[in-house]
């Protein structure tokens, strides 16, 4: 096994040990699913048609925005990066490892919701599982790219929590998973369009592939990736 593959496997283990990922990727989303799933399906029985999608968008948004930034800050805002540099490991290594590990965790959680929601709340399975999981994959990647920007830009691990919450709350509240978008004031609807959760939810709830719900996600991803490249360059260049 080469250094990169060993690093991925190791990061996976570290995420499990740190418990942050366990809590943000599994424990809280499952709790949210158990409580809100029950409420949604009782109050609005038709919500079972979009329950898998809404719970998945919540889990991905939470796991990415709350779970990933502290891991990145631990590497790049501490002396860990010195150890990497001193031992000939490229600094971008930490960014890749944490993203890949978080990606796998979030994909597993999405699959868990996909399997248990129909059993527990009689949720309706998406018509095209292939398109659905392609959408989930894209949503995870885009959410992680934004989380990476937070992790690389924050001054400390503690600082990431504040920024993450500031993005996480409007992401979930304005994306349509909590309230139907047509019930929100127009300004909130427009604000919600800035977040990947809105476009991800729209993409996942459609029974067909809708390009208009996909390209905004790709634009957000490209912008976030460019910001990550800029921030990484700034971290690498010690004056």
């Amino acid at each position: 096994m080469n250094g990169f593959l060993y690093g991925i496997a190791l990061q996976w283990k570290l995420d499990l040990r740190s418990k942050t990922m366990l809590i943000t990727c599994y424990a809280v989303p499952l709790l949210f699913f158990a409580v809100m799933g029950g409420i949604f399906t009782s109050v609005m029985p038709e919500s079972r048609y979009t329950l898998i999608q809404s719970m998945t968008v919540f889990s991905v948004t939470m796991g990415a925005l709350i779970g990933l930034p502290p891991s990145l800050a631990e590497i790049y805002r501490s002396d860990v990066k010195n150890a990497y540099q001193a031992n000939g490991v490229p600094l971008s290594f930490g960014l890749f490892l944490t993203n890949i590990s978080a990606f796998v965790h979030l994909l597993i959680m999405s699959f868990i919701l996909y399997v248990i929601a129909p059993v527990v709340f009689d949720a309706k399975i998406p018509v095209h599982p292939g398109t659905y999981f392609a959408g989930v994959t894209i949503l995870i990647a885009v959410s992680l790219s934004i989380a990476s920007v937070i992790g690389l830009a924050a001054k400390s691990a503690a600082n990431t929590s504040m920024i993450s919450i500031l993005l996480f709350l409007p992401s979930t509240m304005l994306s349509g998973i909590m309230f139907p978008n047509n019930m929100l004031p127009k300004a909130f609807v427009m604000a919600g369009k800035l977040f990947p959760a809105t476009w991800g939810y729209a993409f996942l709830t459609e029974s067909t592939f809708i390009w208009n719900n996909l390209w905004p996600l790709l634009v957000i991803f490209v912008i976030a990736a460019l910001l990550c490249a800029f921030l990484m360059k700034r971290i690498e260049t010690r004056q």
Partner: protein, 271 residues
């Protein structure tokens, strides 16, 4: 290139403040070399420039062979175990884990221990093991014994001597003068961004003048004297005791510690 490291005209500024003002330095292969200087003299900047961790404005740095770096301020993820860190860096550097090196440094005992559970000394030993993992030709050690207990310090000194015996070159930054005196073949003192002295410990003693400390134990107590001319001074002191009919029990003469000489050069004053 017969030298392990050659630095020529190294300059580095932070804004308008020039920290390194054209530093020249040469380290022979197989030497243990200490870079000394008071806080703010530019040691860390110089080391980081040499190690490739910091950009410099001008000058040249030539290093012969592979580098192993133990930084003073390095850390690892809180939940990583000792053996995992060793394996990660070994795999990344395509190196084979040297078990005897791990045993010598006591890192094998830390295999199952997470980084957050390690003491300062244990972390320091682990970082040294990581620095040595690729079997480097030149090893940079920044305050290697800081935070170690006496036993750990002694065993690390022994290991540094073992590295030297293996033909490795060691560049050491330390504030512990006793450590430098007992380990190092040569030293350089950095002062205000320039090399104020470069040579052996004995050469430093010569450079600061033949300054002696004389300690005499008598029936009336212990007295210490400082002298530049040992012969005349000692005769004069002993005559004084003879005239007062004082019994002399012991006489000790030393040429001052490295610390005293260092302070003299680094601060430009006599202490």
């Amino acid at each position: 290139m017969t030298d392990a490291l050659q630095v020529k005209g190294l300059r580095k500024s932070y804004g308008k403040k020039e920290v390194l003002k054209g530093v020249d330095l040469c380290i022979r292969k197989g030497d243990i070399f200490a870079l000394l200087g008071v806080n703010g003299a530019g040691k860390t900047t110089m080391l980081e420039c040499i190690e490739g961790l910091r950009r410099y404005d001008s000058g040249s740095i030539a290093i012969s062979g592979r580098m192993g770096i133990q930084l003073q301020s390095a850390s690892l993820p809180a939940y990583i175990k000792g053996i995992e860190a060793v394996r990660l860096f070994a795999k990344w550097n395509k190196a084979t884990v040297n078990t005897s090196m791990l045993v010598s440094l006591g890192v094998n005992d830390l295999s199952g221990k997470q980084y957050r559970e390690m003491s300062t000394g244990q972390k320091r030993r682990l970082h040294l093991a990581l620095a040595l993992i690729s079997d480097p030709d030149i090893v940079f050690l920044d305050e290697p014994t800081a935070g170690l207990d006496v036993e750990g310090r002694i065993s690390l000194h022994e290991y540094i001597r073992t590295l030297k015996a293996q033909g490795k070159t060691i560049l050491l930054a330390s504030h512990d003068m006793a450590e430098v005196e007992s380990l190092c073949d040569s030293i350089a003192i950095l002062k205000d961004g320039q090399i104020a002295f470069e040579g052996t410990v004995n050469e430093l003693t010569e450079a600061v003048g033949k300054h002696y400390n004389i300690c005499i134990k008598t029936s009336q107590g212990t007295e210490t004297f400082e002298a530049d001319n040992i012969g005349d001074s000692l005769i004069s002191i002993l005559k004084g005791y003879q005239e007062k009919s004082v019994d002399i029990h012991d006489i000790q003469v030393d040429r001052g510690s490295l610390e005293q000489h260092f302070v003299k050069i680094a601060r430009g004053s006599r202490e």
